[in-house]
Symmetry: C2
């Protein structure tokens, strides 16, 4: 039996225990075939069903309208930073694309896009170290633009759009990597949503891309075949050999989420989990929240102690208790607890208990 | 216990049984961490060691010179069909790139490349349904070209370069997806070799790219960051979240190969395996080999029976015996036995026994 640990890593992140056990139990014998799921052809009917079931689960969980395609695309969210303008910038005659910069990955998204279009950063919270989400008014959304790109939850800091901008006819695109399926979202308000799998969905290496059908067909010629969303849609993500393991695990995670009652149910749990930690942080000067309260999300809770030495001590003692991977991103520092859908309440309580004791012993 | 089956699938393909058992046994507890390898950060020291060990095993197994980099790149071999010209075509002032067309994937490679350069198909065996590897003389290799691309083993048919062309100063690039590490190759004769993992190395979704250092640095601006080999090399394949599971499995497969005695040892076994099947095919008119004898490889053995009905019966009865995935590629038809490094001699013998009995019962 494994020792009890809680993994607060930002991604690759912990996945639901029953899912992990099922993967192990059937690893050598998938559906009675006598071979592993990673040894089955991506064109075998057994794998095709895995793919279709995963897509159907996602569609049900999100109440996704029929005019949206669900794609699995190689390379995680970062690859989409290039794929998005390659697929969509040409919607605008001047290839004008709007970006909101609310964190490190938001910045990378517009940096990677620059070579493919006229990239406009319409707002940024860089000057205040990304401690909030600046408002986007409808006046800021140039109706000639190909799209507006936002990062709906900022992994490194824990900030989140708690309401989404009105963009008129300009498609709103959201990188949802660190919050996908953590709260109820009206997908019909978005042109495209995408997420690397490795936080709330499955293993690393692949992204899920959900895109409105009328946005397909604008890819420039230089778009690699496998990054062309129209091709991926036509081939239902099987243009080449898909990351079959990642899609299989994602399918199991989606089934698990259905068993938890769906997105609305997990959203309540997520709110309770984040509130437990933020109430503790706000109730003392000992811990200092990184993000302004009105911009906080539920997936990544970031805070500082009064010195780096104390933070190092905190991380070391937490690790000894089996509370893992609480170190903030190398570009931010401090402490970050990533508490995705799979993190149980017991993990939150273990962390909160440790935080209170640490303050008592080191106050 | 799983039933005894032999999986002749072309990829995703069977992997060595001891590797598969190890993955299962440690799936919930990687290196005593109490979490799975798919839940560990790609920047954790434990995963960094997995990556470095895999690279070192590959280097040892191939006697790879020090001036070659080993990269893990998203998207499998197909993604490299675009990445290669994006990274290398600019070595030639006119972006001239040479391609040899010896099969379906070779054709896709030059098709995907066309938008990035002046793509010249210098030879093709399409007219004879790719039944041989046409010779490439040194006169055919324009010394102004950025590179010459070959597909060293053609998965759909089973043909292989049994000797490699002399290319002078033009870098030779080989798609080795379906034969990597199946035979001893002098890597110093190549500028770049690449392979999707899902046949001889691990799970699907990622490619290994081995490239001579002096070929880095020529990528055009439109190259997506994650497909820029210079960036991948600088970041040691960790520019973004790598496909950690695929790299971990690949590392285990490479260790297993070392335990088998390395590439020279497995090459002997592979030759014996292929010879067993080809001797049977050549000894009767009942089975008809697809590839001319002098162009045969050891990884994919393709043959036909006298009618599609008989082939369908063959496939059905083989499946009932636990001999799986023998159906030829949808674009070729017939029978194909993919017998990669992990296929044991016992699997070959089981197939040969079945083939003899089938001929007796249906002759």
């Amino acid at each position: 039996m494994s020792k009890q640990v809680y993994n607060f890593g930002a991604g690759p992140a912990m996945l639901p225990v029953p899912v992990m056990e099922q993967i192990r139990d059937e690893f050598l014998d998938f559906q009675g075939l006598g071979v592993s799921v990673i040894e089955v052809s991506h064109r075998a009917k057994q794998f095709e069903k895995v793919l279709l079931d995963a897509q159907e689960s996602f569609r049900q969980l999100t109440n996704l309208p029929d005019n949206y395609k669900i794609l699995f695309v190689h390379g995680g969210a970062r690859m989409q930073f290039a794929a998005l303008p390659m697929n969509l910038a040409a919607r605008s005659a001047t290839k004008k694309c709007l970006y909101a910069e609310t964190g490190n990955f938001a910045k990378l998204a517009n940096k990677d896009a620059k070579v493919y279009g006229d990239i406009r950063v319409i707002t940024s919270s860089a000057d205040s170290n990304y401690d909030h989400i600046p408002e986007i008014t409808s006046e800021m959304v140039d109706q000639d633009a190909a799209y507006l790109h936002i990062t709906s939850n900022n992994t490194l800091y824990g900030s989140r759009y708690n309401s989404f901008p009105e963009t008129g006819a300009v498609p709103l695109i959201a990188d949802q990597t660190s919050e996908i399926l953590s709260r109820v979202i009206d997908y019909s308000k978005f042109g495209c949503i995408y997420a690397g799998l490795q936080k709330n969905l499955g293993p690393a290496g692949t992204a899920i891309v959900v895109i409105r059908e009328d946005l397909l067909g604008h890819a420039v010629a230089e778009t690699p075949t496998l990054l062309n969303y129209e091709v991926c849609a036509k081939d239902n993500s099987l243009t080449n050999t898909a990351n079959t393991f990642a899609i299989y695990v994602t399918g199991l995670v989606l089934q698990w989420l259905q068993q938890q009652g769906g997105v609305a149910a997990i959203e309540k749990v997520n709110e309770q989990k984040a509130k437990t930690l933020y109430d503790l942080i706000d109730g003392t000067d000992y811990f200092r929240g990184v993000i302004k309260p009105e911009c906080r999300g539920t997936m990544n809770v970031s805070f500082n102690l009064s010195s780096e030495d104390l933070e190092a001590k905190f991380l070391k003692e937490a690790g000894e208790r089996g509370l893992y991977a609480l170190k903030g991103h190398r570009s931010v520092g401090g402490i970050r607890a990533s508490i995705y859908n799979a993190m149980p309440l017991a993990g939150i309580e273990a962390l909160a208990t440790f935080m209170r004791e640490f303050e008592q012993n080191n106050g």
